[in-house]
Symmetry: C2
């Protein structure tokens, strides 16, 4: 990300977050800008086709953007992945905003993921995690380094104190088992009509915590300089590939065709599969 | 387990569950008896020394039993492990009752675990799970076989509907990451003095669900006949050993010395380490 002549249009569109309110937009713009300033030198420009950087359905009730930048080889960054989508549904508007970063098999440090799913102005699902890239049961030293020593659990506990916050269980067991034991997976619901309370929670709590967790990831994972040897790389690459492939299947497999129609879904997910090398 | 001349005394003591009320005792006796009748032919008698099958502290305020039976080689059972402990503490009585079963590396099917931690008559932590023995992110087919196809998540959802039930987060991140995505990790609290409501929940919900989950484990895991080849066995054995070793460290490392004193803790955990081969 960062100003690039060939993708300025797409970046601009992505960074507008036009369908969500200020606290959400401010958070996402902050995270993306921080990512750009810290990781920019290691990232290629976004080269997605314009009709994948921005796409919509035939009836103009569903809109989406995709902003993907691959890491410059041999950096530790595989790619960073930003997206938002907005759909007018009979039940109201659905807004999904996400930013994730996948590291390459030259390091075994965890990835980063934030996803905000708003099914109404008073209902938010937040997924915020550093998904591990190794089996934590077999590698307690990895758990110690990235999750215990970094004290990530305190952010989960902090958010848990807010009365409107409840645990969220993804309907996908694969998503549930791919997150870390300090993952924040919560559903936040304010009383009907109390939109300002939801925005207060996002501004004063979710944003603060998301930026802190992202800071931990930048310092200890993306820029932590943890290298792995050749044998481990092959193993990591295999696990990474499985994770990316399953994530795509779960995230896009059913929702994209349903929200955007088969043609758009095929185009967008085809490009994502290319980037993911799956 | 099951009547054996050389361990009848220990088994009898273990099966009495003298410090917990009827609904807890009935559940445990049912689970142990079912295990004995289904797995008995594959189990050796319990050969623990008498002062490890039953132990207490110097001041007779803390009592514990341990009932371990190893699997007959080459069965799929590594060993089954039953225990209870009762401690009079300034805050009240603590009762911990557990039953677990570890399978051997000749099969990769999940283990079984139930643990009931009562810190008062109106407060219960329940851990009920089939802990996976493979990295679920790398092996989605394993997730499908043992957790999706068996519909284990419905039991978690069922219990979640009871108003007194809240999610429980173990303070150990290792425990949190070693459980499956369908694990039941809950804290149940009834109003002060409402002991009969707690017993109703244990009898009408916890017991029913625990027996069902145990049935799934018996049918699909212990007696499922899933075999693994030589290469996978070595990998499984390595992961199993790490899991057992960390579990012992977490479970016994701090609580046994604190509750029973150094001498008893050293004796009991030494014997467990022998059985666990760690």
């Amino acid at each position: 990300m960062g100003p690039q002549t060939d993708d300025d249009g797409g970046r601009k569109m992505f960074m507008e977050f036009p369908y969500v309110s200020a606290p959400y937009r401010d958070l996402m713009v902050d995270l993306v800008s921080t990512m750009e300033s810290r990781l920019g030198p290691y990232l290629l420009p976004c080269t997605l086709p314009p009709d994948v950087q921005y796409y919509h359905n035939r009836t103009n009730t569903a809109f989406g953007t995709l902003h993907i930048r691959s890491g410059i080889k041999p950096s530790h960054i595989d790619f960073v992945f930003g997206s938002w989508l907005h759909c007018k549904l009979p039940s109201g508007a659905l807004n999904i905003t996400s930013l994730s970063a996948y590291l390459s098999p030259s390091t075994d440090a965890p990835n980063f993921l934030i996803e905000l799913i708003q099914s109404s102005p008073t209902s938010l699902v937040l997924i915020l995690d550093l998904p591990p890239r190794k089996d934590l049961v077999l590698h307690p030293d990895y758990l110690q380094t990235f999750y215990e020593d970094t004290q990530l659990d305190k952010y989960r506990k902090q958010l848990d104190k807010i009365p409107e916050v409840r645990p969220y269980y993804s309907s996908s067991l694969y998503i549930r088992c791919s997150v870390s034991p300090t993952a924040i997976l919560v559903c936040i619901e304010t009383e009907p009509g109390r939109t300002e309370r939801m925005e207060e929670i996002v501004r004063d709590h979710v944003s603060v915590i998301a930026k802190e967790v992202f800071g931990v990831w930048l310092d200890h994972c993306a820029c932590g300089g943890r290298e792995v040897g050749e044998t481990d790389r092959a193993r990591l690459a295999k696990r990474d590939l499985m994770f990316k492939s399953k994530s795509i299947e779960i995230d896009l497999g059913s929702s994209l065709p349903r929200l955007f129609g088969e043609e758009v879904a095929t185009r967008v997910s085809g490009v994502i599969r290319d980037v993911f090398n799956i």
